[in-house]
């Protein structure tokens, strides 16, 4: 969490980015973002463009993760709107998504057309294996703090969510409605 004093001082020093800069900035994040976008976004937004400082970024990521919807998209909206209101949010969002949407459709169409070719099917199966491993590693990374200081409540919620979805195949809505209040209540209680 950011200290009370730091952001006010540093925000004043920096000129607010223009709509074009927001678009290009998020485009530059999107075109090199493989797997996890957040570390790349951090490098661009904090280190290269200096739009927000490190603490602010951590706080914005917390917000983007708390809000429903894709985290990096939420982050682009929050940063874009902070500087340029609604047009800023739209510029950042378009920078982030337009070019990659075109890439992904081209790649998808090509793969679909040649998916009967054994070589393409083999390539895709191999890619899918890598992608599955990536998601497992992501869960492991997100839990770093929890693994280091494990708590019964935290591990219990992780296990319950995993079992509900992966083992029992329950609809996500039930799992969320069942577990979110419990988990937030446990967090509230442990903050005392």
């Amino acid at each position: 969490m950011s200290p009370e004093t730091a952001p006010a001082a540093s925000e004043a020093d920096r000129p607010a980015p223009s709509l074009r800069e927001l678009f290009v900035g998020f485009l530059s994040v999107a075109v090199v973002a493989f797997g996890g976008v957040l570390p790349i976004a951090r490098r661009a937004v904090v280190e290269r463009y200096k739009w927000v400082d490190s603490d602010e970024f951590t706080e914005l990521v917390g917000l983007a993760q708390f809000l429903p919807g894709p985290n990096i998209v939420n982050l682009s909206i929050v940063i874009g709107s902070r500087f340029r209101g609604v047009p800023g949010a739209i510029a950042a969002f378009c920078g982030l998504t337009l070019a990659p949407a075109v890439f992904v459709i081209i790649a998808g169409t090509l793969f679909a057309r040649y998916s009967d070719e054994p070589a393409v099917a083999d390539l895709l199966s191999g890619l899918a294996a890598g992608a599955a491993g990536l998601v497992i590693a992501m869960a492991g990374r997100m839990g770093e703090r929890l693994w280091r200081r494990p708590s019964v409540q935290g591990l219990g919620v992780v296990a319950a969510a995993f079992i509900g979805i992966a083992v029992l195949g329950l609809p996500l809505l039930w799992v969320m409605l069942g577990l979110a209040p419990v988990s937030v209540a446990l967090a509230w209680w442990s903050l005392r």
């Binding site: 709107s81 990659p100 949407a101 890439f103 992608a131 491993g133 979805i165």
Partner: protein, 176 residues
């Protein structure tokens, strides 16, 4: 099924999914899978795993898997509908809440919500990884490569791209 009803279904599915997507697109993959493969039958299990792989191998936010699913189901209109349904409402929410959130950063309720959602998100993403692994593991060597990728990306800082391309290459050579 006519086109309108398919687009309507896509919009409804992905709108609901987006509102449940606390923790991002990867946390709702099993729900997408349930809707797209099990309920609607728009894709096979394998097609879903491959679509996810393509979305990961192409640069950009990983939410773009929904664009690709929409494209697969209903062409350009489908791609537009799924992408807007997945991003539109949550963007509005992010815009509104973004302003308020900063003001309450020391409030206990805010920290409790943030803290409580972390383990939930971890469990959901782990479940996604498990189900994707089930879809992708067509042989013992594939399962080993999934495990290797997870371990390498967990314990080293190398770019995930190398492990994706490594998998693609090994697949191409029929080694996994």
């Amino acid at each position: 099924m006519n086109d309108d009803s398919v687009l309507g279904q896509l919009a409804t599915h992905f709108l609901l999914i987006s509102l449940l997507a606390v923790g991002g697109a990867n946390a709702v993959l099993p729900e997408m899978h349930r809707q797209v493969v099990d309920v609607a039958g728009w894709m096979t299990n394998e097609q879903f795993a491959q679509t996810f792989a393509i979305a990961q191998a192409v640069p950009g936010p990983n939410v773009l898997i929904v664009t690709l699913i929409g494209w697969h189901v209903a062409g350009p209109a489908g791609a537009l509908v799924t992408t807007l349904a997945m991003c539109g409402p949550t963007c509005v929410l992010a815009y509104v809440v973004g302003g308020i959130w900063h003001r309450f950063r020391y409030a206990k309720w805010r920290r409790a919500i943030q803290g409580g959602l972390v383990p939930l998100t971890i469990g959901l993403i782990a479940a996604s990884g498990f189900l994707l692994a089930q879809g992708a593991a067509r042989s013992l060597p594939t399962a080993l490569y999934i495990t290797l990728t997870a371990l390498v990306l967990l314990f080293t800082r190398i770019s995930p791209l190398w492990m994706l391309f490594g998998g693609g290459l090994l697949g191409l050579l029929r080694l996994i």
